[in-house]
Symmetry: C2
Subunit: 268 residues, 2 copies
């Protein structure tokens, strides 16, 4: 996998301004369990007049990955535990939803008026363990989606399938919208990744003025996810975005590298 | 100010894929106190073959705004307080830097091995109150930069000056790289804004499947800042990025709208 180079595309300090492009892939059909996502994405790209190129990064919304992996649950099949029945009214939730959230969690950090803030089995900290009702077709009845079992493995599988189809090795990021402390609103973050450094460690390197950069590790994976989030929105049904022209560093780094170890976290 | 419309640019569900472009502005000279940033940016854009267009959003790195506003401090001019002298060794900091951080803060939340996590006078929660040594020219001696006094006012002034120069009303976001709980690495967030909704409230609207979206407020301002962060890096001296093709909602909303009120914050 070759590092995409903006510089190669003709940009010196006073040359043409370097660009990065985000391309939305739309027109995907409803994704059934077992769907060949790489195939669907290639078709959607071709319909939009787009081919995957070397240097592209593909960001996928978690929901289509979960659907393809059959990670949806019919609430009618869920029998809520005593704890779920006790907590659900305080959360204004269906007790069966609360039950699914508890099953996906390894630790509950806080209870808000409408969500549990939990640490998922993956180690992600988020509301309701990422269990969600939106963007599930109504004909499916009362169903919810859960996060993929292993989003990094999902990203690796999709990247491999895409490379077989297109001949191009494209890093894949799986993103979901999470809330955060201190600031309002949701942002897209990387919950799965394959093919690129999600953390870029600039410590020990020097800035443009020759100063050593000490505490500068950029969460590149999360910034890529957030950028794609600008095109995904929630309503617009854009489940995949190609980022073209970003100088990523090829690597086998999982998105779990972005998780702060609980023991080092002063705000958990 | 007209809302930029991706749809207008010829994208139906099966039409050409919609695109968003990020354009890096480089080649800015070192920014002195009192500099006309709008003028410098217009020149840098023209040199890179770029003109500001209706629908563009401009993201500026905090550091050039702080420098233009003279928000740098010579450490030689700082007399550290007793508290700064007591804390500095535990932070492995110059006591004068600790003193500047304390002056910029209204509350200290935590002390780490190398930084104070504080609430700044603006209400931002971040390490060392955003006081920073990197990207300050060495010839300036031991100087640090502080955040602008009122980053929303800075954004308004720059947007107004840019409109006078170019005839185009372009929303402005001022961004800085912040750490966060739960996840490793820094991400760019919006600390100042003008001309667009930084929070997009989708509550009460419906997703593509007709479900009501309940808890879906997107932190658009932060996602725009993060996207620009992909081009800014730290080393590359890209202090300004144009985002072209994003469907923003024009508004007079400040970036302080992104601050979670402390009383509602369960992780402070």
């Amino acid at each position: 996998m070759k590092k995409a180079s903006v510089a190669e595309r003709g940009s010196t300090a006073h040359g043409r301004s370097p660009e990065l492009r985000l391309i939305a892939l739309r027109g995907l059909p409803e994704v059934p369990r077992g769907a060949d996502l790489a195939g669907l994405l290639t078709v959607a790209a071709a319909r939009g007049g787009v081919r995957f190129e070397r240097g592209d990064v593909l960001v996928l919304a978690q929901k289509i990955v979960s659907k393809a992996e059959g990670r949806t649950v019919a609430l009618s099949s869920v029998r809520p535990s005593a704890l779920a029945r006790e907590w659900a009214p305080r959360l204004r939730q269906d007790p069966r939803l609360t039950e699914v959230v508890l099953r996906e969690s390894r630790r509950v950090l806080r209870m808000t008026e409408r969500a549990l803030i939990v640490e998922t089995r993956h180690g992600l900290v988020c509301a309701n363990a990422g269990v969600d009702r939106s963007n599930v077709p109504a004909r499916a009845g009362a169903r919810v989606t859960c996060l993929p079992i292993d989003p990094d493995a999902s990203a690796r599988r999709i990247a491999a399938a895409l490379e077989r189809r297109t001949g191009v090795a494209v890093p894949v990021i799986i993103s979901d919208t999470f809330g955060r402390p201190w600031r309002l609103g949701l942002v897209n973050v990387a919950i799965g990744a394959c093919g690129l450094r999600v953390l870029e460690d600039l410590r020990g390197s020097r800035d443009a003025h020759g100063h050593l950069l000490r505490a500068t590790i950029l969460a590149v994976g999360d910034e890529l996810a957030a950028a794609a989030g600008l095109m995904m929105g929630k309503k617009e049904a854009v489940p995949a975005v190609i980022i073209r022209g970003f100088q990523y560093r090829p690597a086998r780094e999982p998105a779990t590298s972005l998780l702060r170890p609980p023991a080092e976290d002063m705000f958990r």
